[in-house]
Symmetry: C2
Subunit: 314 residues, 2 copies
């Protein structure tokens, strides 16, 4: 009997596009989407999980197509008002989006895990596939800039990625237990592919891989690991990936990302712009990787599955 499960590792916007594509070409019970929680933070007393939320909104069809984050048909009365009360207003929280943070925070305080809350909210929003946080334990990405270590959202949102990044750390990652469903899936012998979505490798994928046991579990699953490059012709589609690579002394290229994943990678899908990528130690597929339509998302999703299948049948 052939293997069924696909495990996709994802950050926010870019990763969620491929996750949506996968959710459209796979039966719901064959896809497990693993969300980075290194970006999670506490703000205004609320527990906010940006990547979990972006995946949730995208998979529920509630995402804001203009911003890429947050909800569609959003209103901003809360933000208008929090400023006049002297509250912090550097992180944009739409009125509808806020409901998710308030409800999650309430449930976490009652002792529910982030996995339980996420699972229930996905069910209520009609999402068939499973979205799981990488861990129910606390992991916090931190960034060392010229002025020392700062919290990720301080870097990413408040300072809009302006600081030069010298180093990244994932506080808590080595102690955090990978979420149980992920490990159970990887150990099941039933995984046909591990897909690394086109997210920022440093801040979206590496927090997941930094947890103790995660890289080994992926390796031991025996499943082919297929990544889609988030870099096209030296540029990031969105976000600070290329800037960050330069600052970290790495080549801002599809090859540079592949080098970062190292021997984990079995197959790698890069854009036509990077067709001359050369040997990166993984089987290369050249494709259109910019996903501007749902059709693009599904097409790229199928390509990742095809790449995994080609490797499995070696």
């Amino acid at each position: 009997m052939s293997k069924r499960l696909v495990v996709a590792l994802s950050g926010g916007v870019g990763g969620a596009k491929l996750a949506l594509g996968l959710s459209r070409v796979l039966p719901a019970d064959e896809l497990l989407v693993v969300a980075n929680t290194g970006d999670d933070f506490e703000h205004l007393g609320l527990s906010i999980s940006p990547d979990v939320d972006t995946l949730t909104y995208v998979l529920a069809g509630l995402d804001n197509p203009v911003t890429g984050w947050g909800r569609r048909d959003e209103t901003w009365s809360f933000m208008d008002s929090i400023g006049e009360l002297g509250g912090e207003d550097w992180f944009q929280l739409g009125d509808r989006d806020l409901a998710l943070h308030v409800e999650r925070t309430r449930r976490l305080r009652l002792g529910q895990t982030l996995s339980e809350v996420t699972s229930d909210i996905c069910r209520r929003l009609g999402i068939g596939v499973r979205v799981v946080p990488m861990s129910d334990d606390r992991v916090r990405t931190r960034v060392r800039g010229d002025s020392g270590w700062i919290d990720f959202q301080d870097y990413f949102v408040r300072q809009q990625c302006a600081p030069v990044v010298h180093e990244l750390a994932f506080d808590g990652a080595t102690l955090a237990r990978p979420q149980a469903d992920i490990m159970a899936a990887l150990r099941s012998g039933d995984v046909r592919a591990v897909i690394i979505c086109p997210s920022n490798p440093f801040i979206s994928i590496e927090p997941i891989l930094a947890m103790s046991g995660m890289r080994d579990a992926i390796k031991l699953s025996g499943a082919p690991v297929v990544a889609v490059s988030p870099i096209i012709g030296g540029q990031a589609v969105k976000g600070p990936t290329a800037k960050m690579m330069g600052e970290l002394g790495l080549e801002a290229s599809a090859a540079g990302v592949a080098a970062r994943y190292g021997d984990l990678l079995d197959a790698y899908i890069v854009d036509h712009a990077d067709a001359a990528i050369g040997n990166v130690g993984a089987r290369i597929t050249i494709a259109k990787t910019l996903m501007t339509s749902v059709h693009d998302r599904k097409t790229l999703a199928r390509l990742t599955l095809d790449a995994a299948e080609a490797l499995a049948s070696r």
Copy 2:
């Protein structure tokens, strides 16, 4: 030198109308508005203070003239969304209003007192007069209905005052320390009047009076106590006052309210509809007590001050 301070005890909607009137006819530093906090509760992980908030919005000119509670120009996206996430949606929280609850909750968790938070928020919203919670300690009004004791907001909002009220309790009131500025004012020898606003006596004023030392401090201040009846011709202007009086075996009338305040009362302002009130042990003023305009609010406010002055000059 004549005494300067006016201390007004108030609940929400009705009381806030008179508090606004007082704020328009007195210099800002001569009015201290004491807000009932027996209605306060925790909901969705947020600390909500309905009477403090109504007073804040009314005095800042931000109140919703249609509902009497909440903010004007309000939007409801949060409420739309919290329901679909499985959150509790029986208590209406507008998007702008929510900013106040989130910011207050955040600051309380940082260790600020409700007094400090309220004072700062009033300042930021341009309110000149002082609004103080009756206590920084926890007092919770509870209602005994046919099915036993329930929380006040459960009775008041979720069950819309439907249960028959057999008894009221103010949990924590005897241990709660009255807010320091109130006691300092009452002890200053500088209070020219204590005004009991036309709020529900049982659920808005009695929690304030139930705190240890409060009745005595009012008595010892030497200031005349002037109440405005919340009952007009046997009917409450708004809310369950008349219904509650009947259920508690009291006469649902202006006289019944006066009897409830007992010997605390020096002067009592009742509506023309209650001109035949008779002897209630306090000097009666007959006036139009229904406040439909700002002019009405100011006129009634001046009447309460005149009534106090008439007593002081005996």
